[in-house]
Structures are given as C-alpha cells and as structure tokens.
Amino acid sequence: MTGFVNPLAPRSSRLMAKSAEIKAWVRELMDLPDGTAVTVAELACRDEGCPDIETVIGILEEGRPIRTIRVHAAMADATRDAVAEAIGQGPGG
C-alpha cells in the first residue's frame, strides 16, 4: 500500500481537477497577474488533421478582448508542454 486514501474525502471531477492544473500552467507560463481570469473548455476541433477534440483556453483581461489559445488535445490529455507550445503559437494556438 503506497498511501492512505480517505474514503470520506469529497471526490472532485477528474476533468475539473485537470482544468485547474491547466489554468495553473497558463498562469505560470504567461506570468499572468492575479486579476486576470483564465477559463478552460473542451470543444470538438474543426481543423483537418487535428485530433477530434481540443482544449480551448480563454484569457480574460480587464479592458481587453478575450484571448483564446487552442491545444489540440482533449483536456484529459493536455500536457504542460502542449500548453506551452500553444501559447508560443499565439492566438488560435
């Protein structure tokens, strides 16, 4: 047995936990100020040659249009490297 699992602990959705992880990566990689909100969603990808589903990240800065970053992977499969690469490619991923 490698660790104690509290059976009474609330069980969060794996997808929401992953969403929180992606938000933290984006904040760190883009060095976003605290007041900037980050949102993460999953949508079907419309581009040929891409995986069926993509993770869309929105950066909501006060007084500016929302910036979107597209990671060509399902949320569950998105890695820090993939997010960093998408950020490097600028708007639209």
Partner: protein, 392 residues
C-alpha cells in the same frame, strides 16, 4: 388567457438518462403547469422524446432533432419567437412559462447566453421581442446517482450542467436500499458543491416540483468564476465563428467529440418482447459504458396496441413502461442510440439477428461493435447459442 408581458424560461438539463422526461411528465400533469410551453431538444436524427412527454391540452411542444447548443444561440431564440408569434396570433394556446428540456449532451453556455438580454444588440424584431418578453428564471439540473459520477468524470458537458444549475435534483435515489448506498447519497451534496457551491440540492423523492420551476432571479455571478468564464469564452468563440477570417465554409461550432454519435433503428413489424429485451441485454453487456443511451418506443407482438417505452443508460435498464395506446399515428418501433465510439452497422446487424431470429455469427457481430468488447464475446455468444437451442 392572454400572453403575459414577461415570460420566464426554465432550462432543464441533466446528462443522458438522468430522468428529465420523467420529471417533465410529472410536472406537466400538475394543473398549475398546464399553461406551459415546452421546448424539447434531442441529440439524434429521430425525434422520440416528445412522444415520451405527456402533452396536455395547453402544452406546446417544439422539437428540434438538432442540438441547440451546437446550433448556436439563434435556434433557441428563433423557437421562442415562433412560440410567441403563434400564441399572439391565437394559432396556439397562450402560455405563462417556457421549459426547455435540453439534450442530455447539451452545453449550457450557448443557451444561457441566448437568454441574457444584455448580450445581444437587439437589432431585429425577433431579438427585440425575445429580449423584452423572455428571461431566464431558473436552471434545474438532474444528477443520476447511478451514473452521474462516471458522467462528470468523463464528459465535460456533464460538469458544466452541474456548474450552471441553481437547483440540482438527485434522481433515482429510490433505487438505493442498502445502508452503504444510502450513505453514498448522503455524501453527494458535498461532492457536488465542489462543482457548484451555491446551488440548492434536492432529493427527487421529496423535491417539490412546482417550487423547482418557480421564477427567481438567475445570477451568473452566483454560479462562480468558471461559469462566467465559460460564458465569456462561448461568446468569444461564437463571434470568432461568425466573423473570423476562416469562418467561410466551416461547420457550425460543434461541442461534442466526433466519437459521440447518434443513430436510430426503425422496425415495421411487432417484436416479441422477450427477444427485444434479449437484444438490449446483449448490447449492454458488450458495449457497457460506450452505450451512453438507448431510448424509444417498441411495438410488441404480445400486445400490438400497447407499445412499450424503453430506456437504458450504460449498464442500467429501466423496466419497459406499457402505454395504453400509441402516442401518434406511427406504429413502428423507433429506437435511438447515443454511443461513444460504437458504429451503427454492427448494432443494426445485431438487432436484425436477434429480432429476426436468423442464424448469425454473433461473435463477429459483437466484435464489430468495438475491439474493447472482445472479452465478453465468447460468454455472450455461448449464452445466445444456449438460449437459441432452448427456444427452438
């Protein structure tokens, strides 16, 4: 009655098979809800849900077999405008509320945006009418205690449906009998609060349905940062879709993975009920969680005038419900399947084989449903062979 100046709109959501149609039926049976207009949205190419919802004399049912959330905000607004025009012209009964039963795979963000007047430049008569008359007055999400945990772990739509709700109703709680399950149910509100801190949570057994659909202010801010972010992102993506440089020739925004699909089976002749249940059982055993939903109406050989309503969700099947009569003129068996990663052809072939009783290579048929289901094949094949021998 005359049309009210302001009409509340309630969104009713819940992942596939969570009991939306059942709840809606119960609600519409209450006399105080006979003056409701109902918009039923399905994900599928054959409309079934409207047959499963009782339509009182004053209820209006508009059915879309597209997916409102994929079609964008305009379809819901167009539907509301049509309802208003028909009632204003006395071509349809007046109504004092609208209940939108969302697709089980529905993404709430575009629909909530559609009902937020401040998000639209009311340039057309339709927009001005919808913004002036209709307002979002509540968002009710059903959470199936049997399959809900799997749904929110695997499907982002299910997470959003919980997060957007201002009322959450735990359904199928009547199935829980043993102390361990009852204890699990007691812990559910704490788990759901991680996704939605402020929604009121009810047990279906003692929820007062009329109160769930009483108009109240729906506040996006109270739903939390994620909901506000999803709405803003949705609006940005919709604008990008509409005005972006690459918008020409693109399909409308799709919110479901291409692995999720819907298909139907329509069968003219009546079916021995036991054979139909055998087909459903075999399909569920082989497809498991990839079979997101089966619903439909079945003409049974034993009682051709009394069809059965069937529901199945993943591994769980409800007992078929006997109707006294067919709900419309169409006497055919109509089944809708919503699946993840399962093609229609092997399911149709399995249906023909089991229902038709023709000799069939069951192993190959079930194998076609998907590679992931290889293990149970030999067991099921052997079961079917034995059953066929006994019945012949």
């Amino acid at each position: 009655m005359a049309l009210p100046d302001r009409i509340p709109v309630f969104l009713l959501s819940g992942f596939l098979g969570s009991g939306k149609s059942t709840l809606l039926n119960e609600l519409l049976a209450e006399p105080s809800f006979h003056d409701s207009a109902v918009v039923i949205n399905e994900f599928g190419d054959v409309a079934i849900d409207h047959l499963l919802v009782r339509q009182g004399e004053t209820a209006i049912s508009q059915v879309s077999t597209g997916c409102l959330c994929c079609a964008g905000t305009t379809d819901l607004r167009a539907t509301l405008f049509d309802l208003h025009c028909a009632a204003s012209a006395k071509l349809a009964p007046a109504f004092s509320r609208v209940i939108v039963e969302m697709s089980g795979l529905g993404d709430p963000a575009p629909l909530v945006n559609a009902l937020m007047a401040d998000r639209h430049g009311a340039e057309t008569l339709r927009d001005r009418t919808v913004d002036t008359v209709f307002y979002l007055a509540g968002f009710v999400t059903l959470y199936d205690i049997v399959t809900g945990g799997i749904s929110i772990d695997r499907h982002f739509e299910a997470v959003k449906q919980i997060a957007f709700a201002d009322r959450i109703v735990l359904t199928k709680t009547d199935l829980a009998k043993d102390p361990a399950t009852l204890s699990d149910i007691a812990a559910l509100p704490r788990e759901l609060r991680l996704l939605n801190a402020d929604a009121r949570i009810y047990d279906r057994r003692d929820a007062e349905l009329a109160a769930l659909f009483a108009p109240r202010p729906y506040s996006v801010v109270e739903r939390g940062e994620d909901v506000s972010g999803w709405l803003a992102l949705e609006a940005a993506l919709a604008a990008e879709e509409l005005h972006g440089p690459a918008s020409a020739g693109r399909d409308r925004l799709s919110r479901h993975t291409s692995g999720i699909r819907s298909f139907s089976i329509v069968h003219d002749a009546t079916i021995p009920e036991s054979r139909f249940l055998q087909f459903l059982s075999v399909l569920q055993q082989s497809a498991g969680q990839h079979l997101l939903r089966v619903k439909g109406i079945v003409g049974v050989a034993e009682e051709p005038e009394s069809p059965r309503i069937v529901h199945a969700v993943q591994h769980s099947t409800s007992a078929p419900v006997r109707l006294d009569t067919w709900p419309d003129d169409d006497r055919r068996t109509r089944l809708v399947f919503i699946t993840s990663g399962i093609d229609p052809e092997p399911v149709r072939a399995l249906f023909s084989a089991v229902i038709g009783g023709a000799p069939s290579p069951f192993g190959r048929l079930l194998g076609g449903i998907g590679d992931a289901f290889a293990k149970p094949l030999s067991r099921i094949s052997s079961y079917l062979t034995t059953t066929s021998r006994r019945s012949s």
